[in-house]
């Protein structure tokens, strides 16, 4: 055990050192990238840097304590503490860590200067090129104020609506993204698998039904696009819920029969289906992402291979069914938690204005796509903040309410919700505040509000109008910042 740990630390230490000592020569080569443009074999230089890095890392680890060793707790080499008569710290400038750090810092700073094209000459000589524009910025053209205020109101309400729509969805999601609530939830594998498969099946059926239902009425007086658009998600959801319910009931029957053989057969069939489904999804995904081709093209052009993939999935699924018994416990809560957390993290790490780009193509230019973009981003951000509040609640009251014989729903209403309401309100106001600031950026890609005006003025070089827009934005953001801080202070 201990030896294993040391070995792992050694490996990590070497990887860190390798990275550092490969980075330094590679950065040096990159510094001369423009001179090396015509040099055919410049890839060999980078390869050389990597190899040199390994050699240097090896050498450095034998010359005292390297950074990798220091950061991984391998410091018992005795070179930073003199062991003679009285233990004495070696001054920092005599350690390898310090010198490596200095070299790293200098190389990075020089390369950074080079990459960002810092030009001091411009700084000292071209200042008056800017004054023409700034001078106009200082003379705002106030007569456009009424129109701009209208746009400003649009921005504020756009932010408000996006927050309002985000709240209920984020509240619901936050319960599923709270570790302390979800980790407790487990179910039996067979029941879950039945619910999952039938749920997916039901959703698929519902979706198909939604698309087919109004096909006969195309080219009649009916607005079939709208009807299809409305019915498809409704039927999909109905199919999903119906399938899950049916699956749960069926599997309960199987469980109640207490028949080992039946359970094995059902589990085997379901696992096979799961395997085929997984193989299909995976290969469709790979062919889409890697080859920009759909599953249909895969079937058309690759002869027998798609079927081989499906059969392999089936065999894999069937084999898998032996490792998981029908009645075995499955941490479904933990799985849902991880999946939801992952999705929320992805949504949140995509900037709101990228979402706006997507929704502008869907809903056309204007405040509506901007609102939806902010809403999507807010849902992810709020759900994370909310769920962290749930994770931070006191466990004692939960335990107490549960001990009275309350069910899970009652426990949430009486012990969880009273604890989370104040922080929820506080975070929501904070989010509205953020949304107002973000909505100016959203405007740049056509998401409505004052940002859109700002972008137009800037494109036309109307600096005196830009000035008015900027002043308004700054004023609103400052006021809102202040107000929301005060409200939040009162609540918590």
């Amino acid at each position: 055990m201990e030896q294993n740990d040391t070995r792992r630390a050694r490996t990590r230490a070497f990887l860190v050192d390798w990275l550092i000592w490969a980075y330094i020569p590679a950065a040096s080569v990159y510094f001369f990238r423009e001179d090396l443009e015509d040099f055919q074999y410049n890839w060999a230089l980078y390869l050389g840097a990597v190899v040199l890095g390994a050699v240097l890392a090896f050498v450095m680890e034998h010359l005292g304590t390297s950074i990798g060793e220091r950061t991984n707790g391998l410091t018992d080499k005795g070179d930073d503490v003199k062991t003679s008569s009285t233990p004495q710290r070696v001054p920092w400038y005599k350690t390898q860590v310090a010198w490596t750090g200095i070299i790293l810092g200098v190389v990075t700073f020089v390369l950074g200067w080079n990459i960002t094209e810092i030009n001091l000459e411009y700084v000292f000589t071209r200042a008056d090129n800017m004054t023409n524009m700034t001078e106009r910025l200082f003379r705002p053209q106030w007569n456009i104020l009424p129109g701009l205020i209208e746009k400003l109101i649009e921005t504020i309400f756009l932010a408000l609506m996006s927050t309002i729509f985000a709240i209920p969805i984020a509240v619901i999601l936050s319960f599923f993204a709270a570790r302390n609530l979800m980790y407790r939830i487990t179910s039996t594998w067979g029941k879950l698998l039945g619910m999952f498969l039938l749920g997916i099946g039901g959703a698929w059926l519902g979706m198909k039904l939604g698309t087919w239902m109004f096909l006969p009425f195309v080219n009649t007086n009916l607005y079939t696009d709208l009807l299809t658009g409305i019915m498809t998600p409704i039927l999909l959801l109905a199919g999903l819920i119906g399938g899950i319910t049916l699956g749960g009931k069926l599997m309960q029957r199987v469980h109640d029969a207490h028949n080992q053989g039946l359970e094995k057969v059902v589990n085997g069939i379901m696992c096979t289906v799961l395997g085929v489904g997984a193989a299909y999804v995976l290969s469709a995904l790979v062919s889409a992402v890697a080859f920009a081709a759909s599953w249909d093209i895969f079937v058309r052009d690759f002869g027998i291979w798609p079927y081989v993939v499906l059969v392999a999935g089936a065999v894999g699924g069937a084999a898998f069914s032996f490792s998981r018994k029908f009645e075995s416990e499955f941490p479904v809560g933990r799985m849902i938690y991880s999946v939801i957390r992952f999705i929320l993290n992805v949504i949140r790490s995509i900037e709101a204005f990228v979402w706006a780009l997507i929704f502008v193509t869907w809903f056309r230019l204007g405040p509506f796509p901007g609102m939806v973009a902010l809403m999507v981003h807010s849902i992810a951000a709020l759900a994370k903040l909310y769920s962290e509040q749930i994770e931070g609640i006191e466990e004692g009251p939960l335990e107490a309410v549960r001990a009275t014989g309350a069910n899970d729903l009652q426990t949430i209403v009486y012990a969880v919700i009273p604890q989370i309401i104040p922080p929820y309100i506080s975070f929501t106001i904070y989010r509205w505040d953020i949304n107002v600031r973000m909505s100016t950026i959203i405007g740049l890609v056509g998401g409505g509000g004052i940002g859109q005006m700002l972008f137009q003025f800037q494109n036309l070089g109307q600096w005196r109008k830009v000035s008015v827009a900027v002043i308004l934005i700054v004023a609103v953001v400052m006021i809102l910042d202040n107000v929301s801080a005060r409200i939040r202070e009162r609540i918590v």
Partner: protein, 252 residues
């Protein structure tokens, strides 16, 4: 009657909190459980209403196997077992009344309880229980505005709402000063004697245990090492339970 048979619990991470505990509690007893911190007192209590699932053994309550109960059966068992906690475990931001009413949730239909709609007789019951523990004037105060002793009395009122057969009290006075400790324990004694509710109570101080218990059991490293009358604990027994170096300190 509550029977505990060969009960063991091992926490994740391997700490053995309980080792093969056998214990029978008769109706109407005031059973005091003593032992050092970490001796398994709290775990024993939580195994009885399955806030902690025992790894081995059984808890039989009036002939029903609690350890094998389904979630629905467990709810019905739990609502007859009240619990009082060391840190009171009230919902701080709710009113005293709501905290007391939450003791009744096991009897309430889910839907109406979700909207905080309690029938009049439940409100009357809550008021009666608050009167009983002497804090009816604090009914509409927020729970965190109350002192420690008052909070613990709300905890007792909440347990009484369940009309329990048993009350589990997990170190109910450890967070209180000596004078308040006595007042809280007197309420527990009162419900034990007047309502014939069985009380199982973890205590730290031996003189409190002697004063209030009708029977004392002692745990040490998860094992039951003493079971007898309060006056049977002499110097040697004391050293056996608390270790050679222990000194008895009192609460007056």
């Amino acid at each position: 009657m509550l029977e505990i048979r060969d009960l063991s619990h091992t926490y994740e991470g391997g700490v053995q909190a309980l080792r093969h505990v056998n214990l029978t509690v008769e109706d109407g007893e005031f059973l005091v459980v003593i032992g050092l911190s970490g001796s398994g007192k709290s775990t024993l209590m939580r195994c009885i209403n399955r806030l902690v699932d025992p790894t081995e053994g059984q808890v039989i309550y009036n002939g029903i196997d609690v350890t094998a109960a389904s979630p629905e059966e467990l709810r019905l068992i739990r609502r007859k077992i009240g619990m009082v906690f060391q840190h009171f475990n009230l919902v701080n931001r709710s009113t005293v009344l709501t905290n007391v009413l939450s003791g009744r949730l096991g009897y309430m239909p889910t839907i109406s309880s979700l909207f905080h709609r309690f029938p009049k007789e439940e409100m009357d019951r809550a008021m009666a229980n608050l009167k009983r523990v002497g804090i009816v004037e604090k009914t509409y105060a927020r729970a965190d505005e109350l002192s420690g002793g008052q909070q613990q009395r709300v905890g007792i009122a909440r347990a009484l709402m369940q009309e329990p057969d048993i009350v589990l009290a997990d170190e109910p006075v450890s967070a209180l000063d000596p004078a308040t400790s006595h007042s809280v324990l007197k309420y527990l004694e009162q419900i034990n004697q007047e309502d014939n509710i069985t009380v199982i109570c973890n205590l730290h101080f031996l003189d409190l245990a002697r004063r209030y218990g009708t029977r004392i059991v002692a745990l040490k490293e998860g094992r039951l090492i003493f079971d007898g009358k309060p006056n049977e604990i002499d110097r040697d027994r004391f050293k056996e339970i608390y270790g050679e170096d222990a000194q008895e300190v009192g609460v007056n």
